[in-house]
């Protein structure tokens, strides 16, 4: 044995290790010297990158979980079943990362469970807290059959699918309806602090509709990444269907959004060509209208790369919207200056990296992607669904 295989130093894995080292340093500083030592948050900008990206975007990016499970289990579009497991896994890991980020952002994270016992039903944050807690539990229960299946607990898997899954899926949709919209409601109480291009009393409706849109777009993007990075099968016909649905949802969203601005006589701010105006136009045109028009084109939907690229634009557009609400509109409305500290970025990027890492582990060791067989059944002799049919 003269030749030993030296582990290749991949770019991504060394980047990941470096990021984790930095994250450890940042977290140590955070828990010994306070939030102010690692962030540019201040008394006039109490919420910044973490709430904008990690919470608002993180939860919205997890919307694929309830969207796809509803499509498959409630509306019985069985073709999409192969997408349900990756979507649930993404949502579950996404919510875990949201909670992890909250443990950094909350000033007293050891009290995170307090909404369980100290109630204030008038608070939107109270409702969001409960929903995120309950929905993460639902996602865990939707995810755990994958582990059971892997361990060969077929009876338990069968039991869960037969008796629990429908209820869990419906509960998941209800909880998601509530907290996806409530993340928008959080800002309904600050009419004088948000720029009128982003403030609206119907923020909850806008957030909910755009979350579904994002959930669909993200399902495509993550299927594509799994295909490229993990060599999983790409269901082109399903992606085309999701592309059509995304186009329709995006259209509905844009109509509500623009109509709302007209009703509140705020559309005039869009054409002043100041900072707010440019941010708004970029969000609506590049992140909304352009991908919508593209998704309505058959040529685009027939081409995996073009389709995924367009869906990625949808994802970016809605992320941009959340960041605009949380940071841009708040800064413009209050005249506060805030640029995230580099250590804030380390936390946010660290959370993404951990999420991606856990996803790839799960994809490798759990039956997340169903390669063959109809209706998402795993192929092979150990078919836990065999009794179901």
């Amino acid at each position: 044995m003269s030749e030993r295989k030296i582990p290749k130093l991949h770019f991504w894995s060394s980047f990941f290790v470096l990021l984790m080292v930095m994250l450890a340093f940042v977290l140590f500083k955070r828990y010994t010297q306070g939030i102010g030592s690692i962030s540019n948050l201040n008394d006039s900008m109490p919420w910044g990158l973490w709430i904008g990206f990690d919470l608002l975007c993180g939860v919205a990016l997890g919307a694929g979980g309830f969207t796809v499970t509803a499509v498959v289990y409630i509306f019985h579009l069985e073709d999409y079943r192969p997408m349900a497991r990756p979507a649930v896994l993404t949502a579950f890991l996404g919510y875990l990362m949201v909670i992890a980020a909250l443990l950094v952002d909350l000033g007293r994270p050891w009290n995170i469970w307090h909404p369980l016992v100290f109630w204030n039903p008038h608070s939107v944050m109270f409702e969001v807290g409960w929903c995120v807690m309950l929905y993460t539990t639902v996602l865990f229960l939707e995810f755990i059959p994958l582990v059971f299946e892997r361990l060969g607990y077929n009876k338990q898997v069968h039991f869960m699918h037969k008796y629990l899954t429908p209820g869990l899926v419906i509960a998941g949709v209800l909880l998601s309806t509530m907290h996806q919209s409530s993340l928008g409601t959080l800002y309904v109480i600050v009419p004088e602090k948000l720029h009128p291009l982003w403030y609206s009393p119907i923020l909850p409706i806008l957030f909910f509709v755009s979350a579904i849109t994002l959930g669909l777009a993200m399902t495509n993007v993550e299927s594509f990444i799994s295909f490229r990075a993990l060599g999983k099968r790409l269901e082109s016909n399903l992606l085309r269907g999701i592309g059509r649905a995304t186009a329709v949802m995006l259209m509905i969203y844009l109509v509500i959004r623009i109509e709302d601005l007209i009703v509140h006589d705020s559309l005039k701010y869009a054409f002043r060509f100041d900072t707010a105006s440019w941010f708004f136009l970029a969000e609506i045109i590049i992140g909304g209208i352009v991908p919508m028009v593209l998704l309505f084109q058959r040529r685009i939907r027939e081409n995996k790369l073009a389709l995924t690229g367009t869906q990625f634009l949808v994802v970016l557009g809605i992320i941009f919207n959340r960041m605009n609400v949380a940071v841009t509109a708040f800064q413009l409305g209050t005249g506060t200056d805030y640029r995230p500290h580099w250590m804030e970025f380390v936390v946010s990027m660290g959370m993404i990296a951990i999420g991606v890492f856990l996803f790839s582990l799960a994809a490798r060791y759990l039956p997340v992607f169903v390669e063959e067989g109809p209706l998402g059944k795993s192929a092979g002799p150990k078919d836990p669904y065999a009794e179901l049919s």
Partner: protein, 254 residues
Amino acid sequence: MSTYALLFDQSLCIGCGACEQACQSEHEQPPHKPDKLDHESFTYVEDLGNEQYARHLCMSCENPTCVSVCPVGALEKNALGPVTWDGKKCIGCRYCMMACPFQIPTYEWRSPNPRVRKCDMCVHRVTKDLPTACASICPTGATNFGKRDAMLAEAHRRLEKYPNRYTGEVYGEKEAGGTGVLMLLSRSAAENDLPSNVPQHDMPHLTWTVLEKLPQIIPVWGAFLGGMYWLGNRKNAVASHEHHDHQEGGRDHE
């Protein structure tokens, strides 16, 4: 019963800063001359030039936004008027700071166990029937303490008696639905660095009108989803039954 309130009369303030000092010693903070509200300064007298001074402190809203947004009820409106913070409940989400229309609550950003800090209208004194530290020390009577009804009546009396001294309105009478600090201003709110675009109604109803609809929306939405599940399931069951019949020649029909 009316709550207690503070009445600040800008025309009487000489900017001596006695209220700042009294406040700091009352709350066991190191004596200093503040230049803004922060975790060690619950009140701050701002020199506007021309011998005019603005006072900044928690407005102790009648229906406080911070109390309504706090997920764990750490902020409370005391029946006597003060708005207080309970460190045993607080999770540190800082929604109170986000939502406050007057941008009052501040944070201990450099502490690993941070507190939300703001004027508590000397709740420990008020509950003992004592006026706030700032009101009791004020040498010119610029800051007064008493029942809100009485303070408001006094403010309007002064407005009528000396119309030239003031802008003509009592800041805090209607702002955010009414506050426990009333201000007679000689300059506009904006010139006093006070928010001038605070809605003239209380804020908590904005989110409550959304939240109160959930008990109506969610059961209907749930019934719809459950119904869709049942309908589709039944359709599939019928389809597979027919399929079965067809294949097996209806043998399972007995």
